[in-house]
């Protein structure tokens, strides 16, 4: 199954690695990123000398130190998409472009952070040496933070409250996302929220942080890293695992991308622009998907993403997520690893890793039977959006 674009079917994900998901670690961000990277290279059956491209995270660590520590002798290609939680999927797309053009043959795409420890540092902890360069931080500092809107839940509540009030979105719709993620996390040994089940009743009793967001609408901060290796489909056929082929992908950005409230339509995400292009590139429809790995920093954002993907009209995702439709055993299992909500926040690279496990048919108790195609989304930095559609085999 490949679409019509010159990029469709031109690359495959052949290696995955994960480190986490913890609340408190002695490892530096660089150490965690290197560990996940080396695991991904080994998982592919490759060596560091086989890697010739690096797409680093949008902050914290850089391509040159990653390459040097891993002992990659010749780096031919590097680029760094700066879009927060949509960066990992953007990295897959970027790696595919580099590979399709012959600029690189095997690209490492790692990410990681101490998302828990950085916010709650121990008294003797040293500060992170680097942060981010995205301009939206200026917007936040100058126009939102002075108003008690300090971090992501408060920023996003500014448009999510409009979403809820204008379309009468019931809390049970957001709750269905939280409950599905938590249910799936019970099957994942690495999930932070394993052994901490969540019912709809628990969800509805969760206190508001800032309306419409309850505590149980927010993902869990963790220390973690994850990485994948992308190479040509030809080479992928000779490696250890069933190749997971890139069928289509796209990025999209709100108008304007560096602030939240002056967009003509505050509810139109980057994914609204990107999704139709990705489905067209892959030559598939939303109804062809066997699973959905949706970037779930907040439950209501995931609902808007489902609408952007075409599974419901604006404001209508409540019907799509009810009655177990997005749980394992349902038609569209969502975040089969637990997601950011319940596995941990690894910028959505954990969603990519899970999609690969599913398509290898190596997802254990969370396996979606006989799945052959699924999608992964990214969301970040006030609404940037990415999507990759992946398929089993090459």
């Amino acid at each position: 199954m490949t679409g019509t674009s010159t990029l469709s079917g031109k690359s495959a994900i052949v290696g995955i690695g994960e480190y986490g998901y913890y609340r408190g670690t002695d490892k530096s961000i660089l150490q965690m990123v290197l560990k996940a990277s080396m695991d991904a290279i080994n998982d592919a059956g490759l060596k560091p000398t086989d890697i010739d491209g690096i797409i680093p995270p949008p902050g914290f660590v850089a391509w040159d130190e990653i390459g040097a520590h891993l002992g990659i002798p010749e780096i031919r290609y590097t680029a760094c998409p700066q879009m927060g939680g949509s960066s990992p999927v953007a990295g897959i797309i970027n790696a595919t472009m580099a590979i399709a053009c012959g600029m690189a043959t095997a690209v490492l795409v790692p990410i990681g952070w101490n998302g828990y420890s950085a916010l709650r540092p121990r008294p003797d902890a040293r500060p992170n040496k680097r942060r981010f360069s995205a301009a939206f931080f200026d917007t936040v500092r100058n126009y939102y933070a002075p108003y008690g809107l300090r971090s992501a839940p408060w920023w996003y509540s500014l448009y999510l409250k409009r979403y809820v009030d204008m379309y009468d979105v019931p809390p049970e719709a957001a709750g269905a996302i939280a409950v599905a993620c938590r249910k799936h996390a019970q099957l994942n040994e690495t999930a932070l929220m394993r052994d901490r089940p969540l019912t709809m009743e628990d969800y509805l009793a969760s206190p508001f942080i800032t309306e419409p967001l309850r505590k149980s609408d927010c993902c869990v901060e963790t220390d973690c890293a994850a990485a994948v290796v992308v190479t040509t489909v030809e080479r992928a056929r000779d490696l250890k695992h069933v190749p997971v082929t890139f069928l289509g992908g796209a990025e999209g950005h709100p108008n304007r991308p560096d602030e939240l409230i002056n967009r003509p339509d505050m509810l139109k995400l980057g994914l609204d622009y990107a999704a139709p292009r990705a489905f067209a590139m892959a030559g598939v429809t939303p109804q062809d998907m066997d699973f959905l790995q949706i970037y779930d920093c907040f439950t209501y954002v995931a609902l808007l993403e489902l609408e952007a993907l075409g599974y419901a009209e604006r404001g209508g995702a409540a019907d799509f997520v009810k009655d177990g439709n997005i749980e394992l055993g349902g038609r569209y299992p969502l975040n089969t690893h637990g997601g950011l909500m319940s596995q941990g926040h690894c910028w959505g690279m954990n969603h990519v890793v899970e999609a690969v496990r599913q398509l290898r048919h190596d997802a254990g108790a969370a396996q979606v039977a006989d799945c052959s195609v699924g999608l992964v989304t990214g969301y970040g930095d006030l609404g940037d959006g990415t999507i990759a559609i992946l398929g089993r085999g090459a």
Binding site: Y143, P207, I261
Partner: protein, 135 residues
Amino acid sequence: MSSTKPKGQPDDLDLAFYQATAAAGRLCLQHCGDCGQWTHPARYYCPNCSSENYAFEPVSGKAQVHSFTVSHFSVENAWKDKVPYVTIVAETAEGPRVVARTDMAPDAVAIGNPIRLKAEVIDPEFSYIWAEADA
């Protein structure tokens, strides 16, 4: 309306916006000298006509609630004693939307409600925008 909340650290056009608002003692927004479009946050090129010609000018203060949030929790010492507090996305009559504080009770705020915006000058480089109900 006094406040000791954290201020921004504006520079470039963001600083010009705050300086103009403080100098006028009322909310000023960027106004295109060619097509008349109002823009916020300010941009070096008018998003409507690409002109580089602009001035920061006072707006009417008339606005309506485009969105809002009610914060029931804060990790900031400066805001902990204010919960629950309402923060409004105000759509000005001139077009641009701004974030505004308010003393209105949560159940008195709804999308579409008319409001009036005022500036509370903190210093020459920072002001709060406040919203109050408009009869």
